[in-house]
């Protein structure tokens, strides 16, 4: 088996006295899309923060692309698409400015963009079909376009690991399809994509595997297996069936 893109070993995280992640172990292979499923407070965001380096685990290790996580992050391996509510959409930046932020790790001390950076940004914008809107202020995009702008940031960065936090919240079905297609293409080129989502219906189309999280990993398997009512019940409580969960 190839080196896992994300290897989480026995990771435990506390917020003060609250246990957020309890002995979580995960191994995610390159070139696959993983759906992360769990209730609010199940530790999805905490897991993302541990991978992006915002949180340091109390116990356990994270290995990214076979490297120390800090080295992998510095090399630009980790791309992150934030939840909509975590972004200040009135911030005075253009779509191009935001995508350019993906290049900062590759730039010098003052982050002055070189021709190669501009080319990478233009290519990423083309890839997500936002070239025509590149000079718009980011808040003036539709829900789906906003997500694609942040995916473009990851592409410009050259990220091999892409983390998406609730990318389908507030996004219409057609845009959801566009984003899914884009993520499938990126995975086919070797990227590892981890998507947290509430949209259980879309899971089989989107993901190769699903991970059921409830402070610890309850199950990592095919979407069909994870979506079985008896499995969902373990993560969401008893009276839940696929479709109207969350």
């Amino acid at each position: 088996m190839s080196v896992p893109a994300i290897d989480v070993r026995n990771v435990t995280v506390h917020y003060g006295d609250v246990l957020a992640l309890d002995n979580v172990s995960l191994s995610l292979a390159p070139g696959r899309i993983y759906g992360l499923i769990g209730m609010n407070g199940s530790g999805k965001s905490t897991l993302f923060k541990t991978i992006t380096g915002m949180l340091r685990p109390d116990h356990g290790t994270v290995t990214l692309a076979g490297q120390q996580p800090a080295l992998a992050r510095k090399a630009g391996a980790v791309g992150y698409v934030p939840q909509s509510e975590d972004v200040d959409w009135a911030f005075p930046l253009s779509v191009r400015d935001v995508v350019m932020m993906g290049r900062y790790g590759h730039m010098g001390f003052s982050r002055r963009p070189k021709a190669a950076d501009k080319a990478a940004v233009a290519e990423a914008l083309e890839r997500v079909e936002l070239t025509d809107l590149a000079d718009r202020q980011i808040g003036q995009l539709s829900g789906g376009q906003k997500k694609r702008a942040f995916v473009a940031r990851g592409i410009a960065q050259g990220a091999t690991i892409l983390l998406l936090d609730e990318p389908f919240a507030g996004v219409d079905k057609r845009s959801e399809g566009t984003i899914t297609k884009l993520l499938r293409e990126l995975a086919a080129e070797g990227a590892t994509v981890l998507v947290s989502t509430h949209d259980l219906n879309a899971l089989p189309k989107l993901a190769d595997e699903a991970i059921l999280l409830m402070r610890t990993v309850l199950l990592q398997s095919t979407p069909a297996e994870v979506l079985k009512p008896e499995n969902l019940a373990r993560a969401f409580g008893l009276d839940v069936t696929a479709g109207d969960a969350a």
């Binding site: 915002m54 510095k74 934030p82 005075p92 930046l93 253009s94 932020m101 900062y104 940031r153 960065q157």
Partner: protein, 290 residues
């Protein structure tokens, strides 16, 4: 009086030249920093740090150390205390800020009252623009140049920090270092502006220019031009008005800043309360004419 004399007469006094140089420098440095403060939501933090540096400046005066050193130490002390009170009790952040900065400010006032000094330390509180010495001006220019250089060279990192700290983490940068750097620069800037408008009014120079520019553009790079230009203009206008009307110079500068903000708030083409409507009416007329 012809217009040229109107502009040149005050400059025949050395103290007015120094006042102009000091106030314009302070206005520009504060204005550039204010672009980040208003976007991060640190206006109250700017208020707190600019007040909390007072005891640091007084103590620095007592031991003969540079004002900037005392200011930066007390600036960080204030931020640390605010964080401790907020994180370890049920007190919310705004209350924590209010408690910490007023207490430190009060400490500064008490220290002033027991510190014998040739220069009046009360001038730190309300500013003494017309009494700025060449030595004061030199300090303002040096600190201003250092602060401005760091802000502009690292501007893209600070903007990333303000916009998306998680992404900064994900690409291996340390947002905590960037945040701390911004707070340190805030304390330095407060020292620069003390001379011009005093501790009490520094916060105006730290908020109004950035807020005004934010109502005029959707591009951060343009904010970094609009804010200092607007603020320098306000400093010059305020100083001349105070000269001819014989009013408090620091207060006059801030008053002009506030008036410019009010005009922009009303008439900004994209964000202004009235300007937006005028624009919409104009577009409708053009549509009707077609």
């Amino acid at each position: 009086m012809n217009p040229l004399d109107f502009l040149l007469e005050p400059l025949s006094y050395d103290f007015m030249v120094r006042a102009l140089a000091t106030s314009v420098t302070a206005a520009i440095v504060c204005a550039v920093l204010s672009c980040w403060l208003v976007l991060i939501g640190w206006s109250l933090m700017g208020d707190a740090v600019s007040h909390a540096v007072l005891p640091g400046v007084v103590l620095a005066y007592v031991v003969g150390a540079p004002f900037a050193l005392g200011a930066v130490i007390f600036g960080f002390l204030a931020v640390a205390l605010i964080g401790i009170v907020r994180n370890t009790s049920r007190i919310k952040e705004d209350a924590a800020i209010g408690i910490v900065f007023t207490t430190l400010f009060a400490l500064g006032i008490v220290l002033i009252s027991v510190t014998p000094s040739q220069t009046d330390l009360n001038h730190i509180i309300f500013g003494n623009l017309l009494g700025v010495s060449w030595a004061d001006l030199t300090q303002v220019l040096i600190l201003g140049a250092i602060t401005l250089t760091i802000l502009l060279v690292k501007r893209r990192d600070f903007t990333l920090y303000a916009f998306d700290a998680t992404h900064a983490h994900a690409i291996g940068l340390n947002p905590k270092v960037l945040g701390a750097a911004l707070l340190g620069l805030l304390a330095l800037t407060a020292v620069v502006a003390l001379q011009a408008v005093g501790v009490v009014l520094v916060v105006a120079l730290l908020i109004i220019p950035g807020a005004t520019a934010y109502l005029l553009t959707d591009r951060f790079s343009r904010m970094l031009v609009i804010a200092p230009v607007m603020s320098a203009l306000a400093a010059v206008t305020g100083l001349y008005l105070s000269y001819y009307l014989d009013t408090a110079s620091g207060g006059m500068i801030v008053l002009v800043e506030g008036c410019i903000f009010a005009l922009v708030y009303l008439f900004s083409p994209t964000q202004g309360v009235i300007g937006k409507r005028l624009g919409a009416m104009k577009r409708q007329r053009m549509l009707a004419a077609q």
